[in-house]
Symmetry: C2
């Protein structure tokens, strides 16, 4: 791989958005240099150079050109390295469904879970309901498939990494519970398969380090 | 075109999201049946059947299968009818930039404009700043190109139809002003070219009907 093709990822160890990109790079076997952005100190000149609009991770740099927004990056990786471990389905309709559900996870479920845990107290009850509703729709969509992508990890699985791994951690740190195995047995089983995948496992940050981070940063909602 | 290939669009005459889909269908010359959803009465059984998750327009039905979310629909149309008037650039990097800016319009600019006009009064000042910042970034991104898509109308132009047409209407109805020709001369020129395009013009709803709708629904912010 020559210099023009070098792939760099500016990321953050605890971010489900950064991890989406790492997962896809690893699933496709694309070599890359990982650069940790220490957001708790000061935004680095590198981040400001490569993502001047949002100044946020993750940022992918490929051949000197940068891309921001995790799902936009994932689509770029898919477009550029199509053949190894396809992330999106082959046919337009199935591809549109994957995009729909990925957006649903981002706009509806993650946001509701976050607000239910750490949003304004007056809105928590409403957000808990929203989160339930979102998880219920995902449970239905998953059905009896092993992964949202079918037999292999795909776009929606990657987008839903927060549900598969962070949700348990967020529940532990905040004291708010959404997902229990009896309420969402299919999502629970999926979550175990997802986290148990060798490549995904390698990418995920240590659970206790994340619990400690969230507790320190946001506190326990139940005791606030 | 046989029945399996029939294209139907469930839309709303005043919605910039619905209009995105109509614009792309017309730019590509795809025949379709338009079904107006009267949201002011009651959500139709057709809408509830085809978009049970969000229960919102626009919904595209193609060969009996439905797709929701305007930009997901636009990507589906592009994937299915690639050759006539391509909406997305050919190369992965340029395609990722189009997706980035379309998302930027959705997540940052439209939301800020809307909240600045009709959000909680305490947040209006902050949102006006956000909206300015968003428009400034779009002005830079446009640069000296005729359209965001270059010489022809593309994905970002379609996504930004709200900025190109509705923004003036929202300003008139709410009494809040963001975009003036002297502050954003490039966006202003783009907006005229966009709205002046024969196909776009044909799709846009009458200005005074929209002003009346917004005034009746949301009122004038300056006098609230």
């Amino acid at each position: 791989m020559n210099k023009e093709e070098q792939v760099k990822l500016i990321g953050l160890w605890g971010s489900p958005f950064s991890k989406r990109v790492e997962m896809v790079l690893k699933l496709k076997g694309i070599p890359y240099e990982y650069i940790e952005e220490d957001v708790y100190v000061k935004k680095s000149p590198l981040l400001l150079k490569y993502n001047p609009i949002h100044k946020k991770v993750p940022v992918l740099v490929h051949g000197g050109r940068s891309i921001a927004e995790s799902l936009v990056i994932v689509e770029y990786i898919e477009d550029t390295w199509k053949t190894s471990h396809p992330i999106l389905p082959q046919y337009p309709y199935e591809r549109s469904m994957a995009r729909f559900w990925a957006k649903y996870v981002d706009d509806k479920v993650m946001l509701a879970v976050w607000k239910a845990c750490w949003g304004p107290e007056s809105e928590r009850e409403k957000e808990v309901k929203e989160a339930y509703e979102g998880l219920r729709c995902l449970e239905n969509e998953l059905g009896d498939k092993q992964f949202f992508g079918g037999e292999t990890i795909g776009f929606v699985d990657i987008a839903a990494d927060f549900i598969g791994y962070w949700l348990g951690i967020v529940q532990e740190a905040s004291g708010v519970t959404f997902m229990t195995a009896d309420k969402f047995p299919k999502l629970q089983r999926w979550s175990e398969d997802f986290v148990g995948n060798d490549i995904i496992k390698e990418v995920l940050p240590p659970k206790q380090k994340l619990v400690a981070l969230f507790k320190a940063q946001f506190g326990n909602a139940a005791s606030s």
